[in-house]
């Protein structure tokens, strides 16, 4: 059977990220997971989770994810407005003698208003922001956990944190991170032992890659590069990696067969098994 990723005898947590969307991050995460054994794949791209499309998972559990929002007890409230004044996000408006209005989509669930209220009039209640699905890939080899953010919902970060609470310490964990460099990316990447950055060798790919590299340097997480669609574009990504001393872990060529399998939702290591060893070989480079 395949290999596991370990560091000092402990299974590793590997994040797969990309500054720009659509560079093949999910392709790398899924194919890497299928090339190793004893793996858990966590799809933390909760806005557009795609890993499950390639794994045909049997879903074993669906649980709602919540954040907390304040609820005012009007038997106790004297409309002093202190809660509204304290809220940094303007999520509360106190209307004298009438009500304390909450704009739930602005509330971060920080709990400050309930701490501040002199009348102890604020309790907190859960508000659903999405669901977390848990299951196993069709072939039973990969454990999958993924979050799905509700439509119209803006709080991705707490959902990502809750997906990560299901992390299995006994397994090599691969985290599919949402694109970009903002808060949700930090929430998904933080705590990983290593990050694989996926890029394509184009000017857009390079620009966004630089931003992602900055993030990982701030977070002090070691990283290497997988270049997807190698052969298109120009050599600037390679020059950049060389100059910055960033190891290139793997190149996936721009290949019509691979693109075709992708479009059909088939992980290409299944159809082209010679790639399993190449993906698994990333480990040797990661551990250097």
């Amino acid at each position: 059977m395949g290999r596991t990723m370990q560091q000092n005898g402990e299974p590793m947590i590997i994040a797969v990220a990309s500054g720009k969307g659509g560079t093949g991050k999910t392709t790398v995460a899924v194919n890497l997971a299928l090339s190793l054994s004893n793996v858990q794949l966590m799809d933390c791209d909760v806005e557009e989770p795609n890993s499950h499309i390639f794994l045909n998972p049997v879903i074993e559990e669906i649980k709602p994810a919540y954040t907390l929002v304040p609820r005012v007890n009007y038997d106790l409230c004297d409309y002093c407005g202190k809660c509204a004044a304290a809220c940094e996000y303007n999520a509360l408006v106190a209307v004298p003698q009438k009500e304390v209005m909450l704009f739930p989509e602005l509330c971060h669930g920080c709990g400050l208003c309930s701490l501040v209220c002199p009348q102890d009039a604020i309790s907190e209640e859960p508000r659903e922001i999405g669901v977390i699905k848990t299951g196993k890939s069709g072939d039973g080899n990969v454990d999958l956990v993924y979050g799905v953010l509700n439509i119209g919902e803006i709080m991705a970060t707490p959902l990502i944190d809750q997906v990560k609470a299901d992390l299995d310490p006994e397994k090599t964990v691969i985290i599919d991170v949402s694109p970009g460099t903002a808060c949700p990316v930090i929430a998904a990447v933080q705590g990983s032992d290593y990050c694989i950055l996926v890029t394509e060798p184009t000017p857009f790919g390079l620009y966004d890659l630089r931003l992602a590299v900055e993030v990982l340097r701030v977070l002090k997480i070691p990283f290497g590069m997988v270049i997807n669609k190698a052969g298109i574009g120009d050599r600037k990504v390679y020059e950049y990696c060389e100059k910055e001393g960033i190891p290139i872990l793997l190149e996936i060529p721009h290949d019509t067969r691979i693109a075709r399998y992708y479009s059909e939702g088939v992980p290409f290591v299944k159809a082209m098994p010679e790639w399993k060893e190449r993906f698994a070989g990333i480990i040797d480079k990661v551990l250097l």
């Binding site: 806005e47 803006i154 694109p179």
Partner: protein, 286 residues
């Protein structure tokens, strides 16, 4: 004045390639990049910045070590795991995780914590050969990208009024979350760019749910439609059922990447099937 946002759900479907080309095709508009997190449109349009404005997003908590008694109350209070203590440096705030809520400021018995403003990014107004461009760059590891998008949208509105523009052309951000919702608020049309892949179809469905949720009229354009024609048919059929028009199919062609490498909108870089298809899409949404 009309506002059109080009979005994709997933990134990397060719949204910016389209907006860059529309910018070259259409007169009398303001060009807007609402992908403030990983903006790329400037790589095609080469803006010359004429106005740069600091963007202050959320605040950040700072602990004054000379006042801190290491009681740990702040760490317990923080719901965002932004405070931790280490042996060398005691209690400290991780700015990448701090949401600036101020709860720790309230609970600290020593009044050792304060909230400070921070510059979270920059908003720009620029000149390009294609008209005025309004854009921004969020600093890395920041929250509040939705707020910065709103700043950009307001700037665009002002420029459009001042210059008497008939169109605001917006490159939206990827995903379905906060910045996307901010780039869609109040627009007349969302043009959704998708690819004929299983993930493309899945993402299309999610982003259509978003536009429907906010009551925004949409149209769809299939990029690289010929890499999997069965899937393209499936998407067309799916759109038909939802009553949304597919306004164009753009073929796959390496000219798109070549234009990107040349740093030019593809319709200016070369005539051919892709440029023709993009013109059809533009006519389709007008």
């Amino acid at each position: 004045m009309k506002q059109i946002t080009v979005i994709s759900g997933k990134g990397g479907t060719g949204k910016t390639t389209l907006v860059g080309s529309f910018a070259a095709l259409v007169e009398n508009k303001v060009i807007v990049d609402c992908d403030v997190d990983a903006p790329d449109l400037h790589l095609l349009l080469h803006p010359e910045i004429i106005k740069k404005e600091e963007f202050k997003g959320v605040k950040v908590a700072v602990i004054d070590k000379t006042l801190c008694s290491e009681c740990g109350t702040c760490e317990e209070t923080c719901r965002f795991n932004a405070i931790a203590s280490t042996e060398e440096s005691g209690y400290a705030v991780n700015p990448a995780r701090c949401e600036g809520c101020g709860a720790c400021v309230f609970t600290c018995p020593q009044e050792a914590v304060t909230l400070k403003e921070r510059v979270s990014g920059y908003a720009f107004i620029s000149k390009t050969n294609y008209g005025t461009m309004v854009h921004a760059q969020l600093n890395i590891a920041e929250e509040a990208s939705g707020k910065l998008v709103t700043v950009v949208r307001n700037n665009a509105q002002q420029v459009a009024e001042k210059e008497g523009c008939e169109l605001i052309l917006i490159d939206g951000s990827p995903g379905i979350g906060c910045p996307v919702i901010a780039s869609l608020a109040g627009v007349d049309l969302a043009l959704i760019v998708t690819e004929p892949t299983m993930s493309g179809l899945h993402d299309l469905e999610r982003i259509m749910d978003v536009t429907r949720h906010f009551g925004i009229a949409s149209a769809v354009c299939i990029n690289k439609y010929d890499i999997n024609e069965e899937n393209s048919k499936r998407i067309t059929e799916f759109c038909r059922q939802r009553g949304i028009q597919v306004v164009g199919n753009i073929p796959y062609d390496s000219v798109v990447t070549e234009a990107m490498v040349a740093g030019m909108p593809v319709v200016e870089f070369a005539e051919g099937v892709v440029s023709d298809a993009i013109k059809v899409v533009w006519d389709g949404i007008n």
